[in-house]
C-alpha cells in the first residue's frame, strides 16, 4: 500500500509540477554582458540575477551540492560556426559546522565561503570571465551566453522529479550579445 502511495505521489508530483503556473521569484536572468578584447582572448563581464527556488535552497541546506553551469559560445558573423565555446561550472555547498556557504569553481583552486546565501549569489551575480579565443579576425561576432542549474548533476534520485518540477527550472536560456572585432 505504501509503495502504491509512493508511486502515486510521483505522478501527482509530476502532474502538479507540470501544472504549476503563476509568479515565480526564482530563476536566472542574464542582464548584461560587456565584452572587451584582450590578447588572444575576450574579457567577458556578465551581470545576472540569480535566485534559487525554495526547493533548491532546502536541498542545498540538506547537503545537496548544486552546480551552476555558465556556457559561452562565440559565433562568427554568419552565425553558422562556433568559433569557441567555454563552459564554467560553479559548485555551491553548505557547511553545517561553520554554517557557511561555499562557492568554488570547478577546475580551479578558488574557494570562497559566505555566511549568507545571498552574499554567495551576489558574488556570483557579477562574473568576469576570460575567454581564450586565440587570434580573431576582424569582423562581427556574437557571444551567446547561458547560465543554468545543472539538474543532471543532482543526486540521482532527484533527477527525475527535477526534470518535471518547475521549482528546479533555473535556466536563463541563451542570450545573444553581438560585438565587433576591429582590425
Amino acid at each position: 500500500m505504501r509503495s502504491c502511495a509512493s508511486l502515486l505521489s510521483i505522478f501527482l508530483f509530476v502532474l502538479v509540477g507540470c501544472g504549476q503556473q503563476g509568479t515565480v521569484d526564482y530563476g536566472f536572468t542574464i542582464r548584461n554582458v560587456s565584452i572587451s578584447q584582450a590578447y588572444q582572448s575576450l574579457n567577458v563581464h556578465l551581470q545576472q540575477d540569480m535566485q534559487l527556488s525554495q526547493q533548491a535552497r532546502e536541498a542545498l541546506e540538506h547537503g545537496v551540492t548544486l552546480i551552476i553551469m555558465l556556457q559561452l559560445e562565440l559565433h562568427n558573423d554568419n552565425n553558422m560556426m562556433v568559433v569557441r565555446e567555454d563552459n564554467r561550472s560553479f559548485q555551491l555547498r553548505y557547511l553545517p559546522l561553520s554554517e557557511r556557504y561555499q562557492l568554488s569553481e570547478e577546475g580551479t583552486d578558488e574557494l570562497r565561503t559566505f555566511s549568507r546565501l545571498r552574499h554567495l549569489l551576489a558574488s556570483i551575480n557579477k562574473l568576469n570571465v576570460q575567454m581564450t579565443t586565440g587570434p580573431l579576425l576582424p569582423g562581427n561576432y556574437e557571444l551567446r551566453t547561458r547560465i543554468h542549474l545543472d539538474e543532471s548533476r543532482l543526486p540521482t534520485p532527484m533527477q527525475l522529479p527535477a526534470w518535471f518540477s518547475p521549482q528546479w527550472q533555473h535556466d536563463s536560456e541563451w542570450s545573444v550579445w553581438p560585438f565587433e572585432i576591429n582590425a
Binding site: 509512493s6 547537503g63 527525475l160
Partner: protein, 727 residues
C-alpha cells in the same frame, strides 16, 4: 540459402529485443539490489536505464498489442488453434501473475522498510548533538582567540605609517599555537603589513566583504572558516585603536588554527552529519525511485511473461492449428494438403502421421476415382446400348422400384422421359392405369416362379391395344439390387397385327377362291332346276320349288357378297392417292342417305378441304360408308340414327393431321369389339360379316393414318380417324 538467411534474420529480430529487455531488466534489478550499498550513488546509467526500460516497455507492449489483436481476430474468425492459443495464454498468465505480484509487493515493502531503516531518531539526534558540540567548541575557541587578539592589540603600540615597523611587531606575536598569521589591513581590505609563522607562505587571504563590513560596523568579526586550503581555521578581525590621517582606520586580522585532533573530529562530524542530512532529504525521492524501478521491472516482467505466453502458445499451437487446418482442407476435399515444418517431438510425429494419412487418402481417392470412372464408363456404355435397343428395358430393385428405364421403354409405353425414375410400377400404374397389366405381371413373377420368364400382354393405351412380349429375369443375389429384376419387352402390336392380317388375308383369299368358284354353278343349277321343273310340277309343288330355288339363289348372292368382301380384305394396297376435298366427299356420302327410307340424321361440322389431303377417294368413300352403316344399323328398328361427323386440323409429332370423328347416340361398341376392335369376324350385328371395322382399319393404315374407337361417357360409339396432310 535465402530461406536460411530469412530464418536467421527473423530469429535475430525476435530474440534481440527480448535480450535487450532482459538486460535492462537485469540492470534495473542490479540498481535495486545496490540500494543498501550505496543508495545516493545510483550511478550515471540510472537515467538511461529508466529511458531504456520505458522504451523496452513500449516495444514489448506494442508486440503484445499486435499479437493480442491478431489472436482476437483469429478467435473471432474461428481460425484453427486460436481458441486453444487464447486458453494457453490465460492459463500461463494465471500461473505467472500471482507469484510476480507477490514478489513485487513484498519487494516494495522490503525497500520501503529498508529505506526507513536507514534513519534513526537517536542517530540523527546524536549527530546533531555532535555537530552542536563542535559548534560549541568553535564558539569557545573563537571567544578565546578574540580575547587573545584584544590583548595583542593592546600590546601593539601605534606604529604609524611605517609598514616595516608594523611587520616586525606582528612577527613578534605570531606563533605556532596561534595566531599563525597576523596582518594589518586598511578598511577596504588592502594589506598594509602581515606576518606568518611560515616564512614561505603566500600573501594573507583577503577577508570577505561581509567580514570587513561587520568588522568595521561592530569593531570585530570572528568566525570559523574553511580557508583556501579547505582546512577550518578561526578568522578574527578587530579594529585597531589608531587611525591613519584621512583614512577609515586599520584592521587587524588574526588566523588561529584548530588542533589537528579537533579538526579531524569536527571534519568527520560535519561529513557524517552532511551525509545523513543529505540521505534524509533524499529519503522520499529514493523510495519513489526504487518503487518506480520496481514497478517498471514488474511491468516489464509481466509484459515479458505475456509475450512469452503468446509466443509459447503460438509455438505449441502452430502444429495443432496446422493439423486442424489440414483436417478442414481434407474435409473440403483437398487431399493434396500437406503440413510443412515438422518438429522432432510428439507433435512432429502427429504431423508426419497426418501427412502419411493424407497420402494414403490421396491414393485411395485416386483408386476410387479410377473405379468410379470405369463404372461411369461402363454405365454410359450400358446406357448407350440400352438407348440403342428398340426393346424396352426396365431394371427393378427388390422393392419393385424402377432403377433404370431406357428410352425405348418409355417410348413403347408412351411415357415422358423420367416417368419411372425411382418409382415402383404399382405407383406408376396409379398414374397411368393402363400399365396395370404390366405391373400385375411383374408383381406376380417377383420372388416366385422361374428365374426367367416370358409372357405376352395387352395394354389398352389411349384407345389402342398395345401388345407387349415381356421377358423377365431375376437379378443374381451376388450383385447389386439383389432380388430385383430386369424386364425386357417388345412392342409386337404391329407384328401381331400383321401376322393376324396376313393370316386373315390368306384365309379370305382361300375362302374366296374355294367358295366363290362353286357359287355360280350352284346358282345356275338352282335357276335351271327351277326353270325345268316349274312347269312340270303342280301349283303347290311349283311354288315350293320356286321358294327353294329363290332361297338358294339369294343365299348364293349373299355368299358372293361375303366372298367379295373377303376378296376386298385380302387384296393388297392398290391405292390411287390424289388430292381430294374430304368435306365434299363426306357431303356426297351423306347425300346417299338423305331419303325417306333412311332414318339417319346427320350433324356435320366440317373444315373446308382441307388442302394437303391426298387419298384414294374410292377407299375413303368405302371407309365412310362402312362407318355410317355401322351407326345406322346400331339403332333399333323404327328409331332414327343420329350421326355426328366432325373434321378438324391437328398437330401431332410436328406434323399436320386431319382428324375425322364420327359418333352416334346408339348403344356403343360392345365390349368384345372394344377388346379386339379391328379383328375380323368380331361383329355386333346379326348379319354382319365382321369385316367392316377390319376393312376400315386396313384402309386407314394404307393411308398412313390411325383409327381408334371408344364409347364416350355421354353414350354412343365414337370412331376417330387421323390422316396425314402434306405440308
Amino acid at each position: 540459402m535465402a530461406f536460411r538467411n530469412k530464418r536467421v534474420r527473423r530469429f535475430v529480430l525476435r530474440v534481440i529485443p527480448v535480450v535487450v529487455a532482459l538486460v535492462v531488466l537485469l540492470i534495473s534489478l542490479m540498481l535495486v539490489s545496490n540500494v543498501q550499498q550505496d543508495p545516493t550513488r545510483f550511478s550515471q546509467p540510472y537515467v538511461w536505464v529508466l529511458v531504456l526500460t520505458i522504451f523496452a516497455l513500449l516495444v514489448v507492449s506494442a508486440a503484445i498489442f499486435h499479437r493480442v489483436i491478431t489472436l482476437t481476430r483469429k478467435v473471432r474468425e474461428h481460425a484453427p488453434g486460436a481458441m486453444l492459443s487464447a486458453r494457453w495464454v490465460r492459463y500461463f498468465l494465471a500461473l505467472s501473475l500471482p507469484p510476480v505480484l507477490i514478489v513485487y509487493f513484498f519487494s516494495a515493502y522490503f525497500l520501503t522498510q529498508t529505506v526507513a531503516g536507514w534513519f534513526d531518531v537517536g542517530v540523527e539526534a546524536a549527530l546533531a548533538d555532535s555537530l552542536e558540540l563542535g559548534q560549541q567548541f568553535l564558539e569557545n575557541r573563537k571567544l578565546e582567540v578574540r580575547n587573545q587578539v584584544r590583548r595583542l592589540i593592546r600590546e601593539i603600540d601605534n606604529p604609524g605609517n611605517d609598514a616595516d615597523v608594523v611587520r616586525r611587531a606582528l612577527l613578534a606575536n605570531v606563533s605556532s599555537a596561534g595566531p599563525i598569521e597576523l596582518s594589518v589591513m586598511e578598511a577596504d581590505g588592502r594589506m598594509m603589513a602581515s606576518a606568518n609563522i611560515n616564512m614561505l607562505a603566500d600573501l594573507p587571504e583577503r577577508p570577505g566583504d561581509y567580514a570587513l563590513l561587520q568588522a568595521l560596523d561592530r569593531g570585530e568579526y570572528a568566525a570559523a572558516e574553511p580557508m583556501a586550503d579547505g582546512i577550518l581555521r578561526i578568522r578574527v578581525i578587530q579594529r585597531l585603536p589608531f587611525n591613519v590621517p584621512g583614512g577609515q582606520g586599520y584592521l587587524l586580522q588574526a588566523i588561529y588554527p584548530l588542533p589537528e585532533s579537533i579538526t579531524t573530529l569536527t571534519s568527520q562530524i560535519e561529513k557524517e552529519y552532511h551525509r545523513y542530512q543529505n540521505l534524509s532529504y533524499l529519503r522520499e525521492p529514493l523510495k519513489q525511485s526504487f518503487i518506480l524501478i520496481l514497478s517498471l521491472v514488474l511491468l516489464l516482467t509481466v509484459l515479458l511473461a505475456i509475450l512469452a505466453a503468446l509466443n509459447v502458445s503460438r509455438k505449441l499451437v502452430t502444429p495443432i492449428s496446422k493439423l486442424a487446418q489440414g483436417t478442414r482442407e481434407i474435409a473440403a476435399g483437398d487431399l493434396t494438403y500437406e503440413i510443412q515444418g515438422e518438429t522432432r517431438d510428439e507433435l512432429g510425429f502427429l504431423v508426419q502421421s497426418f501427412n502419411e494419412m493424407t497420402e494414403a487418402l490421396t491414393r485411395a481417392s485416386q483408386e476410387a476415382e479410377h473405379s468410379r470412372a470405369q463404372l461411369q464408363s461402363q454405365s454410359e456404355y450400358l446406357e448407350t446400348v440400352l438407348g440403342g435397343l428398340t426393346a424396352g428395358v426396365l431394371t427393378l430393385d427388390n422393392d419393385q422400384k424402377v432403377v433404370t428405364a431406357n428410352a425405348a421403354a418409355e417410348e413403347i409405353l408412351g411415357m415422358p422421359s423420367g416417368f419411372f425414375a425411382g418409382q415402383s410400377l404399382s405407383e406408376r400404374a396409379e398414374a397411368a392405369p393402363y400399365l396395370a397389366p404390366l405391373a400385375n405381371l411383374i408383381r406376380q413373377q417377383t420372388g416366385r416362379g422361374p428365374a426367367e420368364w416370358q409372357r405376352e400382354i395387352r395394354l389398352q393405351a389411349h384407345g389402342q391395344t398395345l401388345v407387349l412380349l415381356v421377358r423377365g429375369s431375376r437379378l443374381d443375389k451376388k450383385i447389386s439390387y439383389a432380388g430385383g429384376m430386369v424386364i425386357v419387352f417388345d412392342d409386337v402390336t404391329m407384328l401381331n397385327q400383321a401376322q393376324r392380317e396376313a393370316a386373315w388375308a390368306e384365309v379370305a383369299r382361300r375362302l374366296a377362291h374355294e367358295v366363290k368358284n362353286p357359287l355360280t354353278p350352284i346358282r345356275l343349277a338352282a335357276e335351271r332346276l327351277s326353270m325345268k321343273l316349274k312347269n312340270k310340277l303342280g301349283e303347290e309343288d311349283g311354288k315350293m320349288l320356286e321358294r327353294a330355288t329363290g332361297t338358294i339363289v339369294s343365299q348364293v348372292e349373299a355368299l358372293r357378297s361375303l366372298v367379295d368382301a373377303f376378296g376386298d380384305y385380302a387384296l393388297g394396297p392398290q391405292l390411287e392417292r390424289l388430292p381430294m376435298a374430304l368435306d365434299q366427299l363426306i357431303k356426297d356420302v351423306v347425300a346417299l342417305y338423305q331419303h325417306e327410307e333412311q332414318r339417319v340424321n346427320f350433324h356435320l361440322k366440317l373444315v373446308n378441304g382441307p388442302p394437303g389431303l391426298s387419298a384414294d377417294s374410292g377407299q375413303v368413300r368405302q371407309l365412310l360408308h362402312n362407318l355410317v352403316v355401322n351407326s345406322s344399323e346400331a339403332v333399333a328398328d323404327g328409331e332414327e340414327a343420329e350421326v355426328h361427323i366432325r373434321t378438324r386440323l391437328i398437330n401431332q409429332a410436328g406434323k399436320k393431321w386431319l382428324e375425322v370423328e364420327l359418333s352416334d347416340r346408339g348403344p356403343g361398341y360392345p365390349r368384345a369389339v372394344l377388346e379386339k376392335p379391328f379383328e375380323p369376324y368380331v361383329t355386333f350385328k346379326t348379319h354382319g360379316s365382321g369385316l367392316g371395322l377390319a376393312i376400315c382399319r386396313k384402309i386407314v393404315a394404307e393411308h398412313d393414318g390411325r383409327i381408334t374407337i371408344h364409347n364416350p361417357a355421354i353414350g354412343g360409339a365414337c370412331t376417330t380417324i387421323i390422316l396425314p396432310l402434306t405440308q
